[in-house]
Symmetry: C2
Subunit: 115 residues, 2 copies
Amino acid sequence: MNDANYPWCILVPERADISEVFHLSTEDQIILQQETALLGQSLQRLFQADKINIGAIGNMVPQLHIHVIARFKNDPVWPAPVWGKMEAKKYTEIARKNAILSIQNALGDKLTAIS
Amino acid sequence: MNDANYPWCILVPERADISEVFHLSTEDQIILQQETALLGQSLQRLFQADKINIGAIGNMVPQLHIHVIARFKNDPVWPAPVWGKMEAKKYTEIARKNAILSIQNALGDKLTAIS
């Protein structure tokens, strides 16, 4: 997400017209679980996060997507969940590119579609 | 959860001192994914929910737990996520028992620790 308040990624399974995790095949559910865990662990290590928050909400954008957010005890809304609390604080273009690069490096070649 | 605003369950893996999904073994992660999907699908069918919201937050209670919440377009805070929005509206004792019984029935013998 273009929100510099917290490192915040969104995983979108490339499957059409899916709004709930349980609509995926069992195999795809396992892949999504593994990718979510990999991303969460990578963000936690990279940013030394105090907690990783994971959410499949989708009340406004129904296409299935998983929020994976690195949280810190001194971030702007801790301990509340992030949704609906703060206006997104846009990255500068350089900071955005750097954040994406560091996350891509932390993931290695395991997840390639982070942008 | 004792909150009649929305059907709201919490899954707590019986593993000590775990705060993140990715701290679980791969096998346990898959079981948790399957149980989360089963619970989500059962709540969706039972209550004819418009959306299932799933979250692993844990900023205040670190022991790993997964929120699985049935949401409706006419529920009190739709489309916002539920956390931090409304005071819990306690069930009456009879309504609480009935809600638990219907969820237990919807799950059959697949998940037994709902309470």
